[in-house]
């Protein structure tokens, strides 16, 4: 595939991510940082970090919520961390679900938390797929140049 076509595909993907609210202007800022700051691979690095970290946190949360007695403080701390990293990467939808999650956590609503975790997980997987496609496209573009 020609580089131009790949780039077009990438741009379409990105704009759909923005328009669907999956990512917000923080993500845009990261991209700008990469482009203006002469730090190629920065977005890829951050995105990869985020995906790994979020994946870890989500499995931690799942484990915590399976306990007979849920340690809501711990859950809250993890959700808080996930909220922080999703905010930093601009993963808007994940961030929003984290905010709801935290509320449920403060209410010590176990069932609510389990549902919230499912939502977070879905949002995250969706985002991760998009991110992965994005990174693949970028790599292909890079390879062609």
């Amino acid at each position: 595939m020609a580089a131009a076509a790949l780039r077009e595909q990438l741009n379409a993907l990105l704009s759909s991510m923005f328009s669907s609210g999956l990512v917000d202007d923080q993500f845009q800022q990261l991209q700008m940082l990469q482009e203006d700051g002469g730090t190629p691979g920065f977005v890829a690095e951050v995105v990869t970090l985020f995906c790994d970290d979020a994946d870890r946190i989500i499995s931690e949360l799942a484990a915590l919520l399976e306990q007979p007695i849920v340690d809501f403080d711990k859950v809250d701390a993890y959700v808080h961390q996930l909220k922080g990293s999703s905010a930093s990467v601009g993963a808007q939808k994940v961030k929003f679900t984290c905010m709801q999650f935290r509320q449920l956590c403060q209410d010590k609503n176990r069932d609510g938390c389990i549902m919230a975790l499912a939502v977070v997980r879905n949002e995250f997987y969706d985002l991760r797929n998009k991110f992965q496609t994005m990174l693949q496209l970028e790599q292909q573009i890079q390879a062609q140049q």
Binding site: Q26, L33, D36, T39, G90
Partner: protein
């Protein structure tokens, strides 16, 4: 051409000061840390990152001179960000910026009270980070100013240099920064240039490059320090003697002096928090005797720390929820603020703490200049002190006169307060004005932070102090006063509330602010309906009534009564009232609580009562103040004659009650009129 080139190069380096600023970023979240790091690099700071607070602390301890600024996340598993903040503030005088995704007011406030110089919300934006260098410059400024106050001459040169530096920064750097195109950014980023400039900048111009090795105030060292201070008594504790007692190698008088200042601030803040809580308890009719006792003891301890004082006297109360006892660190952060403040509201600073005043002698004259400036611009009330000076007779604590001047500040604030009706805003505005006036203030936002952080408690603290201080006074002077106070109507309430405002013996910030509060309540209560009156006013009254309460033996209704009375005060009354309150409040500032109480009550109350007090109570102030006064004198007498004059007049007044009320009555009429 060569020299020119070199000049140009130097100029360019200067213009780029924030470039190469050394930032330590701490965040346990790798994503945030990565993003933050990149953003910081983008601002051309030199960034060191770690995902563990413990590691950050170790790095800072090992070589604190490697960093100019710390940015730390709030929530970290290995160590709470606030803890790190405290420790950094305690051990090294570095500005710390807190960072969190959580922007609840409570958390932000906690950060500020713990001494954070800024609190940023995640995700951090580049624009915010571009600006953080100001904290480094501000810290540097305030350090120099503090050094001046302590009488170090060595610092004047660096401070000038810094000033130049900043100046060039402002003139040359700002347009450059704002108008920077992305193309130019790239240019900046070209590696070699960057490198070269950084090293240059570090050698010549890095504003945070310390001139001397800093001392790590480890817990142990601090313990020695506290022991020495306790041994000497906090008001006698001068750096030199502390140093002798501590007997630690490589520790200089300067180190001790600056630490002492932080320590004093720490104690003040503790007392502020304690008293605030006491006031809340008291104001809302809390019946828990333990709480009340706690507050009482807290203040007692605080007062006694005029003579011997120890940190331990605070810790046991359990009232200090907000500031944990270990939090000297926060003082460190804030240590600079009062000094900034001091330069324009020197008055309040010096009122509050005689020792400090003593230390600040070298810088006094210039700061008085500032002071005068501020005052004249605000009200033109400067004649007032002069009047008093004419009346001077003999000696007494300079503090009094100083506080006299502090009161001068009040009209200014008052004016704006009455104009704005929103007390707090008014105060803040005023303070801002003053900052502007002050020529070399680096402080405006810092200062405001300070007010935000502290004021919430301070506003109230006056109330609680009323509550507590009188108690201690009464324990000495006993029953005669009870009757009079209980029977007093409106006028006396007024007196108490203004009294309370100034009681706090050694809190610069508080004194100034309390003045404002007390005074402004005069001005604005009249105009506002009770409902719209800001909360702290109620607290204030609560304090006032608590005073009675404690004297009456638990008549809680007074709280409400006093409020009502207060808001009903007719407009015509105040000028006189206000007038008479101010002198009292001045007297309060002595730290002579017993005495001041008497003075106030007499002043506010009708003449008949004055007689009663003079006979019954004047002895008590003496006994109460015997401990604290002489020291005060000895230290302050050297300061400045105008202050003496002021004091003297007031003291004279205290000795001669009848004439006192007359004198002050007229003097303060003018003040009242102004208001």
């Amino acid at each position: 051409m060569r020299p020119e080139e070199r000049n140009a190069a130097v100029g360019r380096v200067r213009d780029q000061f924030p470039v190469g600023m050394r930032v330590l970023a701490v965040d346990d979240d790798p994503v945030c840390l990565k993003v933050l790091e990149n953003l910081l690099r983008r601002c051309q700071y030199r960034v060191t990152t770690t995902n563990q607070a413990v590691v950050a602390l170790r790095m800072l301890r090992q070589n604190r001179d490697l960093f100019d600024l710390v940015i730390s996340d709030v929530h970290m598993p290995d160590m709470d960000g606030f803890k790190l903040l405290e420790l950094v503030g305690l051990e090294m005088d570095l500005p710390v910026i807190m960072l969190s995704v959580n922007g609840e007011t409570k958390t932000v406030m906690k950060g500020i009270t713990h001494g954070a110089c800024d609190y940023l919300l995640k995700p951090v934006r580049l624009e915010e980070l571009r600006n953080i260098w100001q904290h480094v410059v501000r810290r540097k400024f305030s350090n120099c100013e503090r050094a001046n106050i302590d009488g170090y001459e060595e610092c004047t040169r660096p401070s000038n240099a810094d000033f130049d530096h900043v100046h060039s920064q402002i003139t040359g750097g700002t347009p450059d920064q704002s108008g920077r195109s992305s193309k130019k950014r790239k240019e900046y980023h070209s590696e070699e240039e960057d490198e070269g400039e950084e090293s240059n900048g570090q050698e010549n111009d890095d504003p945070s490059a310390p001139k001397k090795p800093r001392v790590v105030w480890s817990v142990e060292l601090h313990r020695k320090f506290v022991a020495a201070v306790n041994q000497l008594g906090i008001d006698k504790a001068v750096p030199k003697r502390i140093l002798e007692l501590m007997n630690v190698e490589r520790l200089t008088r300067e180190n001790v002096a600056s630490h002492l200042q932080k320590y004093r601030l720490y104690l003040k803040r503790l007392s502020a928090v304690a008293s605030q809580q006491a006031s809340i308890v008291a104001a809302f009719g809390g019946n828990d005797p333990f709480m009340r006792m706690g507050a009482f003891e807290g203040l007692q301890g605080y007062q006694s720390f005029a003579s011997s004082a120890a940190l331990p006297s605070f810790t046991p109360q359990g009232l200090l929820n907000r500031n944990s006892p270990t939090s000297f660190a926060l003082q460190g952060m804030s240590a600079s603020r009062p000094i900034q403040i001091a330069s324009n509201s020197t008055i309040s600073h010096s009122i509050s703490d005689p020792n400090k005043y003593h230390l600040s002698l070298p810088g006094t004259s210039s700061r008085q200049g500032n002071l005068a400036q501020g005052l004249t611009t605000s009200v033109g009330q400067v004649q007032l002190p002069q009047k008093w000076i004419h009346e001077e007779t003999d000696d007494l604590s300079t503090i009094l006169s100083v506080s006299g001047q502090a009161n001068n500040g009040v009209p200014g604030t008052l004016q704006s307060v009455t104009n704005s009706h929103l007390l707090q805003q008014g105060l803040v505005e005023c303070r801002q004005d003053k900052v502007v006036i002050q020529p070399c203030s680096s402080a405006s936002s810092d200062r405001l932070e300070g007010t935000v952080g502290v004021s919430s408690s301070l506003m109230d603290s006056c109330a609680s102090q009323q509550n507590v201080v009188p108690l201690s006074a009464f324990s000495i002077s006993a029953s005669p006063m009870n009757g009079s106070l209980c029977s007093n109507g409106v006028a006396e309430l007024g007196a108490t509330s203004s009294v309370g405002t100034n009681i706090c013996p050694s809190n610069d910030l508080r004194v100034a602010r309390d003045n404002n509060v007390g005074a402004s309540s005069f001005g604005s209560v009249i105009l506002l309906s009770p409902d719209t009156v800001p909360n702290q006013k109620y607290l204030n009254f609560g304090g006032g009534s608590n005073l009675r309460q404690s004297m009456d033996g638990g008549n809680t209704d007074n709280l409400l009564n006093s409020k009502l009375i207060w808001s009903c005060l007719p407009t015509s009354q105040p000028s006189n009232l206000v007038g008479s309150h101010h002198p009292m409040s001045q007297r309060l500032n002595n730290g002579n609580l017993g005495g001041t109480m008497v003075g106030q009550t007499t002043a506010a109350a009708p003449q008949t009562r004055i007689d009663m007090f003079t006979s019954g109570d004047t002895p008590t102030p003496k006994s109460a103040s015997d401990l604290s006064f002489p020291k005060v004198h000895s230290e302050l007498s050297s300061s400045s004659c105008s202050f003496d004059g002021l004091l003297n007049s007031i003291i004279k007044v205290e000795k001669d009650d009848a004439s006192f009320s007359d004198d002050l009555g007229c003097d303060f009429y003018s003040l009242g009129a102004c208001i």
